[in-house]
Amino acid sequence: MNTLIAITGLGIFCLLFEILNFRKGIIPFTILGLLGVLALNFYEFGSTESYYNNMITVSKFSTSFSSLFIILTIFLVALSHNFYENHPTKISDFVAIKIFLLAGGVAMVSFGNLAMFFLGIEILSIALYVLAASERLNLKSNEAGMKYFLMGSFASGIILFGICLIYGAMGSFDVVEISEYSLSAELPIWFPIGMVLVTIGMLFKIAAVPFHFWAPDVYEGSPALTTALMSTLAKVVAIATLFKLISSLNFIPSLENQDHLNTFENIIIFISIASMTVGNIMALRQVNVKRMLAFSGISHAGFMLMTFLTAATSAGVLLYYTAAYALAGIAAFSVILYVCKNQNDEDITNFHGLGKTNPLLAAILTASLLSMAGIPIFSGFFAKLFLFNQTIQAGHITLVIVAVINSIISVGYYFKLILAMYSKEPNQERTGKPFLIYAVAIVSITLNIALGLFPSLVLDLLN
């Protein structure tokens, strides 16, 4: 709870900075503030409390995911410095929106009442619509914002409808109460329908097939930093929230009571397989790096969905997977931001010869791609390993084999980028070594590798 308050306060401070005409300090200040929040959050770790009539419940799950969100936001804010160089008057708005977005995200993983959940997701979404459309003179950005907005509010409507049905069934928005009622035998069908609708809405947010169509277009059209945010923070928030929804509302036991579990699991398996396959195969032919990473994100959503099959035990795995994925994503995007600055698009040709002109960044991008592809020693590998381990334990070996085949396909496009960096001739000179971009890239990839070397650090948090 304190975390949430602190974050909100920080956001408002950011707005005040603009008024005080203290633009230069805004990013260092925000980073420091976020570090403080992170410390606060660590301090809260381990306690299980609920605040304000159970509106916010703090648990290990919420604090650990919140920490991840905060870390990601720190990186994203740090990257803002260079990205918004040309928009000095708007920088405080951008930073503030990101901070509020973080607040939404934190609310989403620590909600104790569906109202908080709904508001959180709306804050997140609206902030994202704005950020997606934030290059007001760029038609692509406008289009991305519009697409995201239309489809996002459509999905919000469905989520709202789902919440409404849950309320109809339970007569309450409180998570604890709902989870108690949901185990009773006499349950109106509204509850499972509502849950399914909410799930569908959230699947849209995490861009799972067949609700994924927006992702590539929006990722491509949005400003690169926003894409970074969507593909890392937003996706992680959405998947964590969905996980929390399904596990904390006792949805799966209630389905079991009503013999719906099998079909629900089939749906999850199907969506997971479809997401992986569609994401990976579609990514093969992409030439825009952001678009490619969008499809890659779709496929990772498929992987993450596998944790839902073992929802009772797999929170740690999900945390690990999301951390590995997001850190690799941040590292990759920081390199992309560097390379594609002052470029019209993020075409793969921009990366030609990066291995020669800028070996460090090329190495970082390579490492992050390898992590996403699941090559050992990077945490992406361990994430997949633990995921497969869990899933095989639950007996879904076919799903794992499909996932494995998908991992193989994914190598195809990740390596396309690596090939471009190392085996093509450089076509442009790049000057300048922006400190913050380098710092973010190095720190995030180091964290990624550290997670790979010591997976227990994260994995055991939630076990």
């Binding site: 697409k147 239309l150 489809m151 459509f154 999905a155 469905i158 069908i189 499972p192 329908i193 399914v196 609708l197 569908i200 849209f204 067949p210 609700f211 169509f213 927006w214 590539p216 277009d217 013999d259 719906h260 079909t263 629900f264 089939n266 749906i267 569609v278 195969i281 579609m282 990514a283 093969l284 032919r285 396909i409 195809g412």
Partner: protein
Amino acid sequence: MEMDTNLALLLVLTPFLGFLINVFFGKSLGKTVSGIIGTVAVVISFIVTLVLFDQITSTGKAIEVTLFDWIQISNLKINLGFLLDQLSVLWLLFVTGIGSLIHLYSISYMHDDENMHKFFSYLNLFVFFMITLVIGSNLLVLFIGWEGVGLCSYLLIGFWHKNQDYNDAAKKAFIMNRIGDLGLLIGMFILGYTFKTLDYTELKQTILTIHYEPQIAWNVSIAALCLFIGACGKSAQIPLYTWLPDAMAGPTPVSALIHAATMVTAGIFMITRLNFVFDLATDVQTVIAVIGAITSLVAATIGLVQTDIKKVLAYSTVSQLGLMFLALGFGAYEVAVFHVITHAFFKACLFLGSGSVIHGLHGEQDMRKMGGLRKAMPITFWTMLISSLAISGVPFFSGFFSKDEILLTAFHHSIPLYVVGSVASIMTAFYMFRLMFLTFFKEFRGTEEQKHHLHESGSLITIPLIILAILAAFGGLISLPGHSWLNEYLAPLFTKVAGEEHHLGATEYTLMGVAVLGGLLGILIAYIKYFKQDNVPESDENITGLSKVLYNKYYVDEIYDAVFVQPINVLSKFFRDYIETGLSALVFGLGKVANEIAFQGKRLQSGSIGLYLFVFVLGMCAIISYIFLAQ
């Protein structure tokens, strides 16, 4: 024991040392010095052999030397060890003896070649491997030598490596030998697997004591057959004989040493060595006899019409080897060994003589361009004449005794094979004298230039010739009918009552007479045809009919080429161009399919919000109805 080990090592390693010196310092030492080093190395081995021979004859006991464990196989133990018994020392005697002579000869013969040190190093290496082959205490050490001499043969055939035809010949020799080697290996495997040992002494012990079961008998037969395939390769028997004539591409001393006197007899050595195995496989023995007989006849017929002096000798070698196998097939090992020895003498002499001729004519090998060399090269002529008489089986020359014994043995076992062998002998006499008449008599048919330079070769060439001629003439004395020193000497080796002494009865004398008459008949025909009638073989394009078939060696090379070599090459091209590409395309194809799906998928991702939402709604309907309506 210590002494024996040292002697054995000295025996083996001296040529090896010679090889090393010549390889590393040969060039800087100069041609003569390197030649001398090479020769001395072999001579030392020869002296050691003499010492050993003395020891063996006096004690009658084999010397066994074990150096160390070599290869470990679960139920087999294979040492690197030597076995010096009667057989191996006998073999060593003529290997190192003739080897020394040929080294000596080569100093002069190869003096014009810039790579003489290399030649000597190869020769020394050959002697090293040949000694290893002979004195190895088990089949695997034999195999080292066996393949090693093959290697040296390869190196020496292709000695003039700028000529790719020679290289082809060398390669062919190596590969055909390897076909045989595979047989040998398989034979070894079966023996090892059946008797749990490859050591000669132990093998003999086991075979003599083992309880016989049909399975073991069967294994032994198969093993014997496989071993015989190995012998076929090395000793140029049908069907693996075609490499030997081609091997004449090498320098003549090589032909003399390797392809006449020593290496090609390795097959006979091996079979003799394993006589206790072959004795158990009577079927295989029959096969050996038949193959030997056929080989001797086929090779002899081809030899009838060849015009290249060395080719004639080569086919003659094949034919003689066939005769030896004929003897082996009847279990008359000592007879075969006897012929090996006499053959080594006279064939080495013949080759060296032909080398002398070729040397004198600056490389000319076609007999049609020779003639009348008798006057210019008297020593060569006389030594070759003696050897030709020996090979033709003219009485009291060495060949007479050995060949006669073979035919005698054949007669006792199988009349048809006896007939075949006899015919082959008559042909031998014919073509050998055809060679003699064409080369040494009448007028010289070469160019004026060559005629001008005709001269007798130097003493380094003639001395070995003379020594060999003497041996060819009197070598038969070691195994006179009725009182054979050789048989007694070799007796400890054989399980059967050694060499059933043929009682010299009327039959035997009749047969001897027939053989002599046959030999003389052959010489007579040659005399009439090439001396009296003054025929010279037609030039290549004018040869027709049967002689064309013979001249082209029954087209065996072509048949082999068409049946084995070409199909493999075609197959190779097919694999390379189709299977490999196909497999590759299959793997790439998976990627292509994925790419194609992606391409189609991109069309679905059309950018239209309506479509996206439509799919969204459809997906939602599908999920909801699956969960709630599917029951």
